[in-house]
């Protein structure tokens, strides 16, 4: 069962890779399409931002009417392949988690490897939900699958540890409550950073910036929609994260005798909470620019990453369950 789980993770990484490449192909074909669009503006093409965006109107080698159609069709096929591959990868990912849990005979959240695997699954599952409700956001998938490939491969290559039962300190029903909510909130925050970064690039692009990272955003959905998705995801995840931290405090009171003791993990959870609270306040304040607020969301995610990797690797504390010693 354990070997099956490991194999499923490998296949999931491959599927994410396929999805990422397909998204990239869609992107690339989209660019051809945009170039043609600039030459022959037609109504069906996404006009304003792209057509007037200073893209050189190079004459198309083939008949302009044939290329956009074929190219657009190919781009759409690549996009659909990417979504299909993402869904397949998510299914494999879920299978890996379930088999891992069966092999371990417990919830698969006992160490850093299992934790990252679950967080990334929550992220991709939430992404599929978002995609189902807002198909127009599909092109964000390139960034999401990139994050997936990086994180899941890191988990597999660096963090992997064989299955062992839980230490008594983790053997509590609070384990399920605290860790599941932390995992869930982390997964949504992970997904939330994708539109946040997308928004920052797209907003720059829409303001006419044409230097490197902004040009990537040429094919992204509109900035306003990305920004609203960023807020919706964070507003959804923040109370869950708050609950998870409170549940952790209740558990810490029972296990360690104090609800809050500034253990490194707790300190960084506090930092993340404060930064995300700052984001929500900044987002609700008209005088704060939206991109400043969105930077706070990105910063919040960096603190989450720090808490996951930095604290487990560099600091020792009561939360040292990473299994990397």
């Amino acid at each position: 069962m354990s070997a099956l789980s490991d194999n499923l993770v490998t296949f999931a990484i491959l599927a994410y890779l396929v999805a990422m490449i397909s998204h990239a192909v869609e992107y690339a074909l989209g660019n051809t399409r945009a170039r043609v669009a600039a030459a022959v503006p037609t109504r069906e093409l996404v006009g304003a931002g792209v057509g007037g965006g200073g893209v050189p109107a190079s004459p198309a080698p083939v008949s302009p009417s044939a290329v956009p159609g074929r190219s657009a069709r190919r781009a759409r096929i690549a996009g659909l392949v990417a979504v299909g591959a993402t869904a397949l990868a998510a299914a494999l990912h879920l299978g890996a988690l379930v088999t891992h849990g069966i092999a371990a005979d417990r919830m698969p959240w006992g160490n850093m490897y299992e934790f990252v695997l679950t967080v990334t699954f929550v992220g991709v599952a939430a992404w599929l939900v978002v995609l189902w409700r807002r198909p127009s956001l599909r092109k964000l998938g390139l960034f999401l699958t990139l994050v997936m490939v990086l994180l899941v491969a890191t988990a597999e290559l660096v963090l992997y540890v064989p299955i062992v039962p839980l230490v008594p300190a983790l053997n509590s029903y609070w384990f399920v409550i605290h860790v599941s909510t932390i995992v869930f909130a982390s997964g949504i925050f992970l997904l939330g950073v994708v539109p946040a970064v997308g928004y920052l690039m797209r907003a720059g692009y829409e303001q006419g910036k044409r230097s490197f990272p902004y040009t990537l955003a040429k094919r992204l959905p509109g900035a306003a929609g990305l920004e609203r998705l960023t807020f919706a995801l964070h507003a959804f995840a923040f109370p869950i994260f708050t609950f998870a931290v409170i549940a952790g405090a209740i558990w810490a009171e029972a296990a360690w005798g104090r609800p809050w003791g500034w253990d490194p993990k707790e300190t960084w959870a506090f930092i993340s909470w404060v930064v995300y609270a700052g984001y929500l306040h900044a987002r609700a304040t008209p005088s704060v620019k939206r991109n400043v607020a969105t930077w706070l969301a990105v910063l919040g995610f960096l603190t989450m990453l720090m808490n996951l990797f930095g604290v487990n690797i560099f600091f020792t504390g009561l939360h040292s369950y990473g299994g990397l010693d």
């Binding site: 062992v164 300190a169 053997n171 708050t242 296990a255 930092i271 404060v274 700052g278 306040h281 005088s287």
Partner: protein, 551 residues
């Protein structure tokens, strides 16, 4: 936290009266402090200020690591210490940040609380003249009952409704501000809970060896470390005694712990005599304190028979060294050894001490330095005997778990020999005296704590969460309806009946308002097709008019 930029111009001061400079300064500082921008900066500072608390060792968590840091960085450490870097969360600057933040918070929510109470008691405002200028607008056939029927539907949908003639105003979503205020008030309550805990709480840590002779009572002197809040006296500690009857530990084949349980007897004036169990994750809850299991180990029972034939027994706990096999180190000291029973004369140079390494599962062959498994499969005690003046009479505080190395260096204590003892074995030293390894007792490391703020903390965290949900997911919005006679020239199928004009205004960011509005007016009008008509009406413009000044 209020937003300075959005605040409406304050009423012009009374004409021709020079404002008091000091008052103006105070007022402006207060306004600055309670502004959203300041609050955001303070929040950010709070996050930044917490970072050193995770990077540098902290006295409250690991004092031994702080000492280590002092040895490793003799130049840097005292300087860091001066700015409180080893006690970040109690330092002046950290406290300053959060106290300012909370002052800002109080300064912000107090007027908002007043405003909100006023808003809760007031009626929805009159409909604006031109409803078509609102973000949502629709004209539909009016229901038969006119304004009263509209109001009825709205009330059923839990809107707050006010009917003024042919006009209906309704508002909903007060929960957002209620939740917001509840959240921020709960934060203050959380801080108070923490403060109560640190003022009136106390805690003590100690080792407890199994057996009736080793029972301890809850007084300050009985703890190896005790922390009493500033408002707690030693006499305030509840009086009870604890005796460890049994400790059970189970491990996996790899040595990883699987299960712990400590069985104790509680006794004392403030607690009924009873037996109790506790383990990791499930502390023993007493009336005025909770007992937590922090660790466990072995206390070798060592008997020494001196040259006068008198025996003494030591069952001092040996401290675990941190490996999974529970290799433990400790000291069995016999300062009263070799006292002549007839004269009672002490022989300070004839005191005995044994330092040792205890291996619950010793390896099959040497070196006998590390235990292979945490339970006693092949217990062995590797003892080093010392004779001389242990330095315990000098009155200098020293560890009871280590031999005073100063005495060894000074040549006052001399090593006599080394021997590996199995359970029940004895060792006769060069002077004919005898040391025996009788067996072991289990010991546990305990933390006894009382935190009177924890209940308040828990309750306020509950309110905090409820408030947070209301604040994030509540949506304040207004709708207005005006019933007017149908225009006969319109030629609508409902000619003859009256029409209603509806307008909607989301007062917070609410992307789904267009749909809700469309559904609402359709339901009121009783016209299903109207859903589509109203839905397409000015779709996507739902963000206009969103002006949320406060959070």
């Amino acid at each position: 936290m209020t937003v300075v930029d959005d605040r409406p111009e304050t009423a012009a001061p009374a004409p021709r009266r020079r404002p008091n400079r000091l008052l103006a300064l105070l007022r402006n500082s207060w306004r600055q402090l309670t502004s959203m921008r300041t609050a955001l900066i303070l929040l950010f500072l709070l996050a930044v200020a917490a970072i050193p608390g995770s990077v540098l060792p902290q006295r409250g968590i690991s004092p031994e690591k702080v000492n280590e840091y002092f040895t490793d960085h003799p130049d840097l450490a005292p300087r860091l210490d001066r700015i409180g870097a080893f006690e970040v969360f109690g330092s002046v600057w950290f406290s300053a940040i959060y106290l300012l933040l909370f002052t800002s918070l109080i300064g912000c929510i107090t007027p908002r609380l007043r405003d909100h109470v006023r808003a809760l008691r007031s009626r929805p405002p009159a409909a604006p003249k031109r409803l078509q200028r609102l973000p949502q607008h629709a004209v539909l056939p009016a229901p038969a009952g006119g304004a009263a029927a509209i109001a009825e539907v709205l009330r059923r949908r839990r809107w707050r409704v006010e009917v003024r003639g042919d006009e209906v105003s309704a508002e909903k979503g007060y929960l957002k501000e209620t939740g917001n205020l509840l959240f921020h008030t709960s934060l203050i309550a959380v801080l108070i809970g923490v403060a109560l805990g640190s003022w009136y709480g106390w805690s003590g840590n100690r080792l407890l060896v199994a057996g009736a002779d080793n029972a301890f009572c809850n007084t300050r002197q009985q703890y190896a470390e005790a922390k009493l809040g500033p408002r707690v006296d030693s006499e305030d500690l509840p009086r009870f005694c604890l005796r460890l009857d049994d400790f059970e530990a189970r491990f996996l084949a790899s040595g990883q712990p699987e299960f712990f349980n400590a069985r104790v007897t509680v006794d004392g004036p403030d607690e009924p005599t009873r037996s109790g169990n506790f383990s990791v994750n499930s502390p023993l809850r007493l009336g005025g304190a909770s007992v937590y299991l922090l660790g466990h180990g072995y206390a070798p029972v060592i008997r020494y028979t001196d040259r006068f034939g008198r025996s003494q027994v030591s069952d001092e706990p040996f401290l675990t060294t941190g490996d999974s096999g529970l290799t433990s180190e400790g000291l069995a000291a016999f300062p009263d050894a070799n006292v002549d029973p007839r004269t009672g004369r002490r022989a300070p140079d004839e005191q005995m001490a044994f330092t040792g390494i205890y291996l619950p599962t010793a390896p099959q062959q040497a070196p006998f330095a590390r235990s292979e498994y945490p339970t006693e499969r092949n217990p062995a005690l590797n003892l080093v005997a010392y004779r001389g003046n242990l330095g315990l009479d000098a009155g200098i505080p020293g560890s009871v778990y280590q031999l005073d190395q100063r005495q060894v260096r000074a040549g006052k204590v001399k090593e006599v020999g080394t021997k590996l003892l199995r359970k029940g074995e004895s060792w006769t030293l060069d002077d004919g005296t005898k040391v025996e390894f009788l067996g072991t007792e289990r010991y546990v490391t305990l933390s006894v704590r009382h935190d009177p703020g924890s209940t308040m903390l828990l309750i306020s965290c509950g309110f905090l969460l409820v408030g947070l949900m209301g604040s994030l997911f509540g949506r304040r919005r207004r709708v207005f309806f005006r019933v007017m006679p149908a225009d006969p020239a319109d030629g609508s199928p409902t000619a003859g009946s009256s029409l209603m004009e509806a307008g909607g205004l989301p007062r917070t960011d609410y992307p789904g308002f267009a749909d809700e509005f469309a559904q609402l007016v359709a339901a009121i009008s009783g016209d299903e097709r109207a859903t589509e008509r109203a839905g397409t009406d000015r779709d996507g413009s739902d963000r206009t008019g969103v002006r949320e000044g406060t959070e």
